[in-house]
């Protein structure tokens, strides 16, 4: 079962990454900076548990705060530009973060070994889970408790006035502005929430992979981050989860037995999925159909 628990862990962490991009995408902005926030979360949480010997939960809290604060700070200049220019600006930020960690060394002596980030060679021995006796099941449950909390928060946000404001900005900025919505504040808030979620995701990522290095947080990860919500659909948070299961569970892990053909199929199936479901795997229409199906069954059973 450990294999399946491990896979569910990966799906959980990637769902957090996808949800971080989902928040920003709701406002109509395409951000490739999520990998940068994810990296910040990973390094901060790793340093706190390994070097400062903090417990995991407060370390994740701090990593969320640092990544969120960075996202907020980046949001001000970055969100002054739109469309492709924003994509370029956020890619540049992501690369700047990656290169920072590429050059960042901060190690302390612990017995006969040195612990901490070591530039291009990465940061090893982030072994909080095994050293504290967490089983694969424990880790999986912890990750999914976090994912459930985040999803519940975003679900609530979606159904609240704040969610309507985010969507209004995403649908038509000018119309939203004309109704008195502070566009900059909304975008920055979405970016900050996205940063917080990415920071938590990155912190967990560092602990289940036990080793992090700059190459893991490049453009490919940033692309995956926005691919999840786009492929899954922006109508609700479950679309992102569905897309992560499709990519990580089916395309990457499920097709592993196909060997070299897997990579060819990977791209082909994503293109196919986006053509068949252009508004996402779980778009508003699919949600409506599910609701009808669910409620009509409930009504029948009540009757």
């Amino acid at each position: 079962m450990d294999f399946y628990f491990g896979l569910i862990q990966i799906i959980g962490v990637h769902t957090l990454l996808g949800l971080s991009a989902y928040c920003v995408l709701l406002t109509g902005q395409v951000s490739l900076a999520q990998a940068g926030f994810f990296a910040i979360g990973a390094y901060v949480a790793g340093m706190l548990t390994v070097i400062a010997q903090w417990p995991l939960v407060p370390a994740l809290g701090v990593s969320a705060l640092v990544a969120g604060a960075t996202a907020c700070a980046v949001g001000f200049p970055a969100l002054r530009v739109k469309g492709l220019m924003l994509v370029v600006a956020t890619v540049a930020f992501g690369e700047a973060v990656r290169l920072f960690f590429f050059n960042f060394t901060y190690q302390v002596q612990a017995g006969n070994i040195r612990l901490g980030p070591h530039g291009g060679e990465g940061f090893r021995q982030i072994r909080y889970f095994p050293e504290n006796g967490w089983t694969t099941l424990d880790v999986m449950l912890f990750i999914w408790a976090v994912v459930a909390l985040v999803m519940a928060g975003l679900w609530w946000l979606n159904r609240s006035r704040a969610g309507a404001v985010l969507r209004a900005v995403g649908e038509d900025e000018l119309a939203a502005q004309s109704t008195g919505i502070n566009i900059t504040a909304v975008k920055i808030s979405a970016m900050t929430v996205g940063g917080v979620i990415a920071g938590i995701g990155g912190g967990i990522f560092a602990h289940y992979t036990t080793h992090i290095e700059h190459v893991q947080f490049g453009v490919v990860l940033a692309t995956f981050a926005i691919a999840y919500p786009i492929l899954g659909g922006l109508s609700n948070v479950f679309g992102t989860l569905l897309a992560v299961i499709f990519i990580q569970g089916f395309l990457i892990e499920g097709l592993r037995f196909m060997g070299d053909w897997r990579n060819l199929l990977f791209g082909g199936l994503i293109v196919l999925a986006m053509n068949v479901r252009p508004r996402g795997l779980l778009d508003a229409g699919a949600m409506l159909a599910l609701k009808r199906l669910f409620f009509s069954r409930k009504e029948r059973s009540d009757a």
Binding site: M1, D2, F3, G6, L7, I10, F102, G120, E121, G122, R124, Q125, I126, R127, F129, P130, E131, N132, G133, W134, T135, T136, Y208, T209, T210, H211, E213, H214, V215, Q216, I252, E253, R256, G259, D260, R262, N263
Partner: protein, 398 residues
């Protein structure tokens, strides 16, 4: 009497048949699973490792296979999984392998994957407070220094690059006392190249060479004009390139285009492969590389032919995979591994103990020492590219 003879012959034939049927029924197979990069820029390493493991298994099977703990004979089969040189996928692959009856895995290709994988293993064997995975892994390719130290369940059969470059730079100094300056080039985003560049640089300085500068590029880069322009400006006697075949060839071709002709070229261990010669034999002419494999012994020649039969090429990495199959055969027999579904965990513990207890193994170039921190001390030699092939330039005495 004649009838008696016929009856006796029939009885004998029946007995023979029944014995051979028993023997046939007892013949089992043991699957050894390898994993590594079979896609992406470094896919060739995975392809070569798979071919080498299959070649090793075939050689072992030709001589009767492996004797298991209960006395039965088993043939070895090989399965190889792709981790795409990605740490998350590597962890997933190993968890998949560990969820089967496998008692050992061979891999990975990339050092960044090995870092994560060895990290999820139990650090100290038998430590009940550590919930890390208790599964032995022996690496054939991941070459970054000191990786096996991470866990007592991790082992490597890769050469010590520190020893190789220490020896090489001392030799260069003795053979070319007139060469004074050195310029470095490094594939900066790849853990192995980056770490080895540090070794090259420190050994060059230790041997009195003056560092004239260094240029950096990335594993996926395809243009190197800026880096080579800086290299040209430095006009160093020696150029040392710590990069894999793909970018090594790119840099060498750019050096030819810009007319950069150092007096001596030194390369990364991983570039002493057929891919470099296929990509840029002309430009690589003369480059010196320390390696732990060259077809210079009858065993090495045989291994190279056998690996080629399975669609791979023998180099220092795939040769390590080939050797590992024989190491595993010996440990299976020494430790009386049962290879049965109900003995999986006990077999894993025995395999770990067996691998940890090894003091010496037989390699393709001679005896391979084993260190207390589960690394190999492999014999090595220097090869240089000459006329489109790798030829032995020098074999150090130790």
């Amino acid at each position: 009497m004649r009838n008696l003879t016929v009856a006796f012959a029939a009885l004998l034939a029946g007995m023979t048949l029944s014995v051979s049927e028993d023997a046939f029924a007892q013949e089992r197979t043991v699957k050894i699973t390898g994993f590594g990069a079979k896609s992406g820029v470094v896919r060739v390493f995975g392809i070569n490792s798979e071919a080498a493991m299959k070649a090793g298994a075939e050689e072992i099977n030709k001589t009767g296979g492996v004797t298991l703990g209960d006395g039965t004979k088993a043939k070895l089969t090989v399965e190889f999984l792709d981790d795409r040189c990605n740490a998350e996928e590597g962890i997933s692959v190993v968890r998949r392998i560990a969820s089967t009856d496998a008692f050992v895995a061979v891999g990975p290709t990339c050092s960044n994957v090995a870092e994560s994988l060895f990290g999820i293993l139990q650090k100290k064997a038998g430590d009940a407070t550590d919930s890390g995975l208790q599964f032995p892994i022996i690496a054939d390719v991941a070459a970054k220094g000191g990786l096996a130290k991470i866990s007592e369940w991790s082992f490597r059969n890769v050469p010590s690059e520190f020893e190789m470059y220490k020896s090489l730079f001392a030799w260069v100094k003795s053979q070319h006392p007139n060469l004074k300056t050195i310029y470095g080039g490094v594939e900066k985003d790849f853990a192995h190249s980056n770490a080895t560049f540090g070794v090259m640089k420190s050994q060059a300085e230790t041997n009195g060479f003056q560092i004239a500068g260094s240029a950096e590029w990335l594993l996926n880069d395809t243009t190197f004009s800026t880096q080579v322009r800086e290299m040209k400006r430095a006009n160093a006697d020696i150029v040392a390139i710590s990069a894999h075949p793909f970018t090594t060839c790119g840099v060498l071709k750019e050096m030819e285009r810009q007319g950069v002709k150092p007096k001596l070229l030194i390369g990364l261990t991983s570039s002493s492969s057929i891919e470099t010669l296929q990509g840029c034999a002309k430009q690589a002419e003369g480059i010196i590389i320390p390696t732990s494999f060259a077809p210079v012994t009858p065993e090495a020649k045989k291994a190279a032919e056998s690996v080629a039969k399975f669609g791979g090429s023998a180099d220092l990495h795939s040769a390590a995979a080939y050797e590992i199959m024989f190491i595993l055969k010996d440990v299976i027999q020494q430790q009386k591994i049962m290879a049965k579904p109900d003995t999986v965990q006990a077999d894993r513990v025995k395999m770990r103990q067996g691998l940890a207890g090894l003091k010496e193994t037989m390699g393709l170039l001679g005896k391979v020492g084993r260190t207390a921190d589960r690394e190999a001390i492999k014999p090595f030699l220097y090869v240089h590219a000459k006329g489109g092939s790798w030829q032995v330039l020098h074999k150090p005495s130790s």
